[in-house]
Symmetry: C2
Subunit: 411 residues, 2 copies
């Protein structure tokens, strides 16, 4: 074997890590399902042309491509062109597969389709610490509902899932693209300058007011417009959502209702209007949101409404809104903070190789009604060494066959 | 989008299918874990050289290979050789990854390592009905224990898992390669003719005694040896395991203990010595087993002891034994037999768009303590049509906000 390590940027998971990953997936699955979402799964491999011709931006440059096989490969090798050599690719997100799935199956899906997707995506990025070439994405999307019941259900569901995982200091920031657009236009900018202005505004947290003024001046924007933008921003900052009303009535009505409902039902997480929230993706049409944990400077999840994308990608028009949890970030937080996950009591049952194995197994099977795990081991000569290692192997107690009443807890 | 279907031989899963798959995985996971197994996960991508230079037999011809990227690809394209174009491949089984994982992590693993692996493998086979190019394998392996406690634990664990899934007519057939070998030698064949003879003997169920005689004669084996083989087989058939004693004392002792213990603890499944069980894989060293369901002519799972393979593949010697469940076959059976899976009661809660959404959501959240699923829907004009579709969407009951006491069951 050339190397016993996984390929560069890929990972194996030891039992302790895998247990945490499965636990987090189970909690998310259960909470999402309770709220009326149903899980689907799409193929990890997609036709390469679908991936390459998609709206995926830079991700389309990071596709792991699958070499053609057999005769098709022989034919392609003579042309000596990269695009001819491959016919399939590993998916780089779950959004393109969802659009394809929806277009393919819409007749079998309810008119309001509340979908869970959890699975690996693959990106051929340069590997670096904390960035992997294969990682789990965890999305919930509602297709077919244009009302903001959707946003409310998504925020409530994701908030409760993360709270159930033990993340207690969560803030969901929310904005509406239409308010942002109103702000830019009210400040005197052209409507087609929106994206550019929004991208700069997005840096407010990082570079401050002065930094923003400088960057806009550098780009040749009028000083008066910049001043107006910052004055209006200031008002949004101090007065909150009420100041958004003159900028976009629709955006205001939408956010006002979401904020009111979520504030009345929230449990363990906060929601906050943030006019400076932009989110990069061009496809969002109105509501956008991100979830922050404690003092962490980056979001651990986010999403928004994208009413046009499904139609554009799949030819089937449908309003849609989604929320994606940064699964790998959640795992990192839970690991760093050493969160306990509920495991029950794990028992090691030892026996002497000359004892009757039928009786030993019967005892193990009975003990499995009481303990969450019972693992049977043959006693070795150096029994005390065996016992010393149990704790690090995740056991909470042990017992010796024939003396099961005498269960010793490991401390 | 070129096509909205998944690539040839790949699958998407609708909510109902995905729910069954997740249910089966959860039951297997839980039962395995209760019996002391811990789950690991390995990368779905492997270095191509590891896959190509492995013991994987025909599967090494079915590798989905990943095209090199960037400069490395440019360099390789000039050589115009297939083997230069790819550097990674999708795994075709979970055994090679397990060996690699074990060699890489053995210092962090317990001396007796009881591993669960569940995940996708990929094979570029010609797609046909019921055969997929991407499917889930579901393996349990014990590495580091040469005693047959391992076989007993594996059979007990897999038997109970399948029973818990509602498969009630299970038979686990068991044999020992050393008995098979003893049989072949006792009949007068050369020891190096073992594999060839075993492969023919394996067809007993299909072609009968006469078919076997003919095939052996065709291959030039002596009539007297064939007669002796069939006479000894007959004895094994009628007298059972006791007739195996003169053929291999070790094999007899091994099977006798496994049979005795499993018969004393079995619950919902049967175990049976079957001298004609061969299993194709060359790497099995002693115990082999397969699990059969009802009258189905093929095994739904199987495995055995492979004490030499880990050392050969990874350079780290370790006795090992594994049992693999045919996950996709189990799914097919449960679907065909329409097995009920426990889901709790699923409620659809309707509201009128002019009602207070905060109050609606509060009601939904409360109802989620009682019902396993509560999904909120805006009432449409054609309410009776909405209700008519609920059953096929998986709901068991519905209620209208403001009248929650009045929950109507769907029949």
């Amino acid at each position: 074997m050339a190397s016993t390590k996984p390929p560069s940027g890929m990972r194996d998971f030891l039992p302790k890590d895998k247990e945490l990953r499965e636990y987090v997936m189970r909690v998310i699955r259960e909470e999402y399902a309770r709220n009326g979402f149903t899980e689907i799964e799409t193929s990890q491999l997609e036709n390469l042309s679908n991936l390459e011709n998609s709206d995926g931006g830079d991700n389309t440059k990071l596709i792991f491509k699958i070499l053609k096989r057999g005769e098709k490969l022989n034919l392609s090798m003579s042309t000596n062109s990269e695009s001819d050599l491959a016919d399939l690719g590993l998916r780089f997100d779950l959004t393109l597969p969802l659009s394809r799935f929806y277009a393919n199956n819409r007749n079998e899906l309810p008119s309001v389709f509340k979908a869970i997707q959890m699975g690996y995506v693959f990106r051929a990025e340069r590997p670096q610490k904390g960035r992997y070439r294969s990682f789990i994405q965890c999305d919930v999307d509602v297709i077919g509902d244009e009302s903001n019941l959707t946003e409310i259900e998504l925020i409530n569901t994701v908030g409760r899932s993360l709270t159930r995982l033990g993340l207690n200091d969560l803030t969901i920031k929310i904005n509406d693209r239409r308010i942002l657009k109103g702000l830019v236009v009210a400040a005197g900018f052209q409507s087609d300058q929106f994206s550019d202005i929004a991208i700069i505004l997005d840096k407010l947290d990082k570079i401050g007011r002065d930094g923003i003024i400088q960057e806009m001046l550098d780009k040749g924007y009028a000083h008066s417009n910049i001043e107006k933008l910052l004055a209006l921003s200031n008002e949004l900052e101090t007065k909150g959502i009420e100041a958004a009303k003159p900028l976009s009535q629709e955006g205001y009505d939408n956010l006002k209702q979401i904020l009111t409902v979520i504030e009345s039902i929230q449990d363990g997480f906060k929601i906050k209007f943030d006019y400076s929230l932009v989110r990069g993706m061009g496809y969002y049409t109105s509501t956008i949101f991100e979830v922050f944990y404690g003092a962490l400077g980056y979001a651990v999840g986010g999403g928004g409404r994208y009413d046009e994308m499904i139609g554009k990608m799949s030819g089937v028009d449908a309003p849609a809104c989604g929320f994606s949890i940064g699964f790998e970030r959640i795992i990192d937080i839970l690991r760093e903070e050493n969160h306990d996950i509920p495991t029950g009591t794990r028992l090691a049952l030892f026996y002497d190789p000359n004892q009757d194995l039928s009786a030993v197994m019967k005892s193990a099977i009975e003990l499995r009604d009481t303990f969450s795990v019972v693992s049977v081991f043959a006693k070795k000569k150096k029994f005390s060494k065996q016992v010393d290692r149990l704790k690090e192997q995740g056991f909470d107690a042990f017992s010796v066959f024939g003396d099961e009443i005498n269960i010793k807890e490991l401390t």
